[in-house]
């Protein structure tokens, strides 16, 4: 049913570190690659070699520019995928029950065999996390790699989302945000992880870690000259320097 589970034992999700993300798009194509052959219909592309290529991606990396008032402008890379919201509006609007949130781990999925492709869930999602597949006519979204994280056919160490596994900088973290002791929860606490568009009350599971303060050279006291070279001349400097060994 598209009614939400009253409670989920675990809240699996991603924590994305905006201080570390270099915007390389590795997570974008790793996601495309895995899900193109994994859960449900392939992620189709329309005129891939044509004048107006377009296709389904479950994870896209934006790039923003921010202008602080006192320091130089910054570029911030911003990966965006399903946040597996606790109070997921995309689920309750679904007329067929295709869209649902798993009780055991909070993962929000689309049961493609029940999806009529009405698009309502994509309208209901504030975060642009759902994309209709033009070929299959079903709604696609981040599955949190539900077909990896429990997959007995994968080695233990690989039972994590494809985007997390591939991220070269380790800016993407996967874990249980319901458990305050989990690595991700501690990271969120330590680095002040936050929700996107909290005003909508969707209670996202995924969290974003803010960029650290930039462009503030350590107040390392500027280097003091050994002595006044103009006065002592080079020889004086040399004696003083070599005196140090």
């Amino acid at each position: 049913m598209t009614s939400l589970p009253t409670h989920t034992d675990r809240k699996l999700g991603l924590v994305i570190d905006l201080d570390t993300c270099v915007g390389c798009h590795a997570c974008v194509t790793a996601c495309k690659g895995w899900n193109d052959q994994g859960y449900g219909a392939p992620l189709s592309d329309q005129n891939p070699y044509g004048s107006d290529p377009s296709g389904v991606f479950l994870n896209r990396v934006h790039s923003y520019e921010v202008q602080p008032h006192d320091t130089p402008a910054q570029i911030i890379n911003f990966p965006r995928s399903c946040l597996h919201c606790d109070d997921a509006p995309c689920v309750t609007v679904c007329p067929t029950g295709a869209s649902y949130k798993r009780a055991e781990d909070g993962i929000v999925l689309v049961n493609e065999s029940a999806c009529i492709g009405c698009g309502l869930c994509a309208w209901a999602c504030p975060y642009g996390a759902r994309e209709m597949d033009a070929d299959a006519g079903v709604m696609k979204k981040c599955t949190l790699c539900v077909d990896r994280i429990y997959n007995e056919n994968l080695p233990e160490e690989d039972r994590e989302p494809a985007c997390v596994r591939t991220c070269p900088t380790g800016a993407r973290h996967f874990g249980d945000l319901a458990d305050p002791e989990s690595a991700v929860s501690r990271l969120v606490a330590k680095r002040g992880g936050y929700d996107l568009m909290p005003e909508l009350g969707t209670k996202p599971t995924n969290k974003y870690l803010p960029p650290r303060k930039k462009d503030r050279p350590q107040e390392a006291s500027l280097l003091a000259p050994l002595l006044d070279i103009q006065a002592t001349g080079f020889a004086g400097w040399l004696d003083r320097v070599l005196g140090k060994i």
Binding site: D52, F57, H62, Y64, A114, I116, L120, D133, G137, E199
Partner: protein, 290 residues
């Protein structure tokens, strides 16, 4: 939001259709014989035709029946039930009018109520969406019902009633426009809240995630120039409500009704186009486009 023709036709036609059926059901018009067949036929044609055209934008229409399953949570599901219930319940009423069987009207009353409920459900599909602040307001169902009632009254030649309904519709429309313009900002959505990086400074888009297009941008991001909007709003209100209302001061006959309905329909279509085109989805914030 992208103003898809199928959805515009659907909501305009079914709105008018169910409105008209409601009036027929309540017996405010009591046609008989072929006229009854024609009028009921028109009502059903509009309502059913609208519903059918709505399925054109489904990716997998063959599974449409599944849409009846989630009435507990989904307004779309509820709309499905209400519409079918209305159409089924009204069938005997139509039959009795046509063949003059004179069956009791009670069912018709319930059917009429279901017609209004159907339109209300349709409206709630949009009104429930917090992601589209302009829609997410009581004026949305009010306006849809306004169209439904006014249109129905007009079609069924209830000139006095229709006149008042059209006037109220005009007010609702203008209220909706005015209110809607304020709401996005009022809700406090911004690129800053969408990304959380506002804490550093004012964010703007540096580079879109893909140079290639995508479903989200096609479906949710539609930009209309302010100046067009102003014109279209005036056209919508005048054609949908004011002109038809004025026409009703003329001696009411099939022709004036026909002309009034024609105006009303065009106006409704324009209004519905605006309803989508003007609606800004919060996802646009990520793309710096609204």
């Amino acid at each position: 939001m992208h103003p898809a023709p199928s959805v515009i036709i659907f909501s305009v036609a079914s709105g008018l259709g169910f409105g008209f059926l409601a009036f027929l059901g309540m017996g405010l018009v009591l046609p008989s014989g072929l006229v009854a067949f024609a009028l009921w036929g028109l009502g059903y044609a509009l309502a059913v035709g609208g519903l059918v055209s709505a399925t054109f934008h489904l990716g997998n229409p063959q599974r449409a029946l599944l849409a009846f399953t989630q009435w507990r949570s989904s307004w779309l599901s509820r709309e499905a039930w209400a519409s079918v219930a209305a159409l089924v319940l009204l069938a005997p009423v139509a039959l009795s009018d046509w063949l003059g069987l004179g069956w009791p009207r009670g069912v018709g009353m319930i059917g009429a109520a279901l017609c209004l409920i159907t339109v209300f459900c349709t409206a709630m599909i949009y009104a429930q969406l917090k992601t589209v602040p302009r829609w997410n307001h009581w004026t949305t169902p009010a306006t849809f019902l306004g169209f439904c009632v006014a249109g129905g009254a007009l079609l069924s030649g209830q000139s006095l009633f229709a006149g008042w309904a059209l006037m109220i519709l005009a007010v609702l429309l203008m209220a909706g426009f005015a209110e809607g313009d304020r709401r996005f900002a009022a809700r406090g959505h911004s690129m800053a809240s969408a990304t959380g990086i506002g804490r550093i400074g004012t964010p703007q888009v540096f580079e879109q995630p893909h140079t290639g297009g995508n479903y989200l941008m096609r479906e949710m991001i539609f930009i209309v120039a302010r100046k067009h909007v102003e014109k279209l709003r005036i056209i919508a209100v005048s054609l949908a409500a004011i002109f038809p209302a004025l026409l009703l001061f003329l001696p009411v006959n099939a022709l004036t009704i026909a002309v009034a309905v024609a105006f009303h329909l065009i106006g409704a279509a324009v209004q519905r186009w605006l309803f989508f085109a003007e609606a800004e989805h919060v996802v646009g914030l990520y793309y710096g486009m609204r």
